[in-house]
Amino acid sequence: MDFSVFVQLLLPGLTTGCVYALVALGFVLCANVSEVVNFAQGEYVMLGGVVAAWLFAHQVPLVVCILLATAAGALLGALQERLTLAPVRSSPYFIQITITLGVAVVLRGVALIAFGKDPLSMPGFTGDGVFEVAGAVVPVQSLWVWGSTALLLAVIFWFLKFTDPGRAVRACSINLQAARLMGVDTGKLTLAVFAVAGGAGALAGVVITPIVLANWDAGIAYGLKGFIGAILGNFRSPGIAVLGGLGIGILESFAAGYLSSGYKDAIVYGVLLAYLLVRGGVFVFGRLSLQLK
């Protein structure tokens, strides 16, 4: 096996994996505080990308593009929670989750109408240059992706570990009911977490756009691949979800490079199916753990 080919596949995989990792983290955090799987998670990545690229094409300074797109993601995340989830908080989770799907469709539709069918592009933050690592050629923008993801993850994990609201989020992930009884205001917390998840997704969408273009219907793929990461973390562990997201990015890149670029999605989704089948099949011999709701 040629090492430079390996690196040439690994690093771009890591780059897209960063996006999946942030989506996976968003899934897990939202689910922890609200028990809701937010199917609109991937759409925030798409929105961040198209909003930033569209603003940039309209001569808005780059820094402002980045900030506005991220803020838009956070704002929409908060709006989604306030307008479509807060009013139905006591409804069955099935209803709440189906609502997030409707929101995803609306976000896609809005992007299609507002920004058009064609993919939008945007130059790298510090030019479109490349650099070389171990014989592999990587766009400079990748550094921005890795750096901003690392920074964002560091902030979020520091927040979870060392602040009161962060501890509250972790308490919710262990036992939502008990956290409520202990005085955690899950309403406010959910609002904040949806905003953070929306903003983080949008920022990921902005930084990846110079590498992969921004397209109105890219949200499902981001969502589904992030979901795989989240499910590896059992929708509970933020850390494993992040690692899962990174792993899916790398797996996808290797599948495209070593096997077939046409089949790369099929392979990644096949892994999800296989994982679920094994997880489900295991219980044929074992025993389900059920929670009373």
């Binding site: 139905v88 099935f94 609502i99 409707g102 469709v105 896609r108 109408i113 077939s260 046409g262 059920l290």
Partner: protein, 575 residues
Amino acid sequence: MKSAIAIAAMVLAVALYPFVLPGAYPLGIGIITGALAAGTVGFVLLLGYAHQLALGQAGFCMVGGYASAILCVNYKWDPLAALVVGAALAMATAWAIAAPILKLRGFVLAMASLALHLILIVMALEMPFTGGALGTYGVPKFALFGLALTSDLAFYFVVWAIVLAFVLVGLAIDRSRIGRALKALAASESAAMSVGIDITRYKVQMFVLSAGMASVCGSLGVHYLRAMDPNVFGFAFSLNFITAVIVGGLMSIWGGVAGAAIITGLRELLRGLSLPLWEGVIMGALTVIVLIAFRRGVAGFLSLLYERFTAGKEPQRVALAPPDLSSLSTIGTGSAKLEVSGASRSFGNLKAVNNVSLTVETGSITALIGPNGAGKTTLFNLIGGYQPLDAGAVRFDGRRIETLLPNEIAQLGIGRTFQNLQLFDTMTVLDNVMCGHHRFVAKENKNRETALRALAFVGLKGAEALLPGELAFGHQRLVEIARALALEPRLLLMDEPASGLNDSETERLAELILRIAALGITVLLVEHDMRLVMGLADHVVVMHHGEQLAHGPPDVVRKNSAVIQAYLGVEHVAA
């Protein structure tokens, strides 16, 4: 009556439509609507009844579409045979995926079915026999038993005849024991399992059935389009299914038909207005709005109108008959002994239940008591199969049951009630209790009769037609007990039956429990209320910090100093 009117209305509308709106364009819309309805009727059973969200339903349309296109074009198959083979293939695929995956809880089917769909799209693009991105062209017109349907009008009627057949299947399921089980699991999975409903099995059945119907939708669509390519049934088509069923009405088979008509009409309207890009926004917004504002959708709205129209004046006040003690005299299949030995269960470092052994003697009333956090409810859930044991064994009637699922345990004749009421709040009191009889595959008359007798026994005769939410809290507790009795249990587990009841209600509950025991049913109850327990139980087991502290007859346990200490603190013992 309501369905008869609905069926007549549908038949009439379908028959008149081509003559009221003649021409090829309206007829085409009629065919597309019918093809979509064939799929959405199945989808109602999945989404509305089994509460399983599938994001890749269009994948099964692809299976049917490609089966019809490839078999009819490349192999000159008869279209009807190709349609049937496609549906069988779709159902087999659905079963292979759902049977293991649906054992997992949560919303994994949604993403799993989406992943399957996206894999199918990749396969359609890459496989040698699908025609790749260009697809397969020259699909013949549909034919019935070798007779080609040369006119679109004939095809239109065939499509809608299939829809009618699917609707009749759906209505039959709705009225059957399966339909009741589905409504129960949609309302509360825990409670559904407590009466022996195998929730995984019914979810899988609905997924498989809906996949078959989606495949037929795909086949019919392809015979209309006369071509198949990977884009025909994309993600947007899956979303059409979801929007159609939600807007049309989740809780009714008719929601599928109404939704298909609304979605197709809406799309044509937007095309007419040159606003095709708005389709997504409008459909998504409709989904959200209906789910927030009026969850029953258009079909639910029509049904509400019908009820307003036909119902008399105000519903009469319900007068409850006194409990009829003789009504359940024939119940009971013989009670049986429960033995727990060395049961342990930890959550992290907390030993919620630590090496507890107890025996509930045949025909006895045994009470499990202890301060808050003593591990009573956990032990209860271990016995009921709601949580796995870390160690130990549970035997019922001599048989090991600790590895069984809650529904399997219920099937053995162990009924239970819940501390936090778990009633099926969308179903009438009678239907709730009829669910209790699920483990007996009996005629509906027998089910109803058993349920009525159980209701009479607990003193709820007269409340049959109400929804549980319309009853006082104490009466809701009785509904749960009646439901558990309809199981004809040999052992009844009651989790804090007196919580939330006032003094006189608690007194009546005690009488009821004694009457239940008098039927020969073994009773194990978890309770806080010492007065209730001491007056009732033959045998008391005291738990503290996950361990068994004492056991014996109430009088003995009451004087046990360790028990007094656990309940009241050290100083009371000294005094």
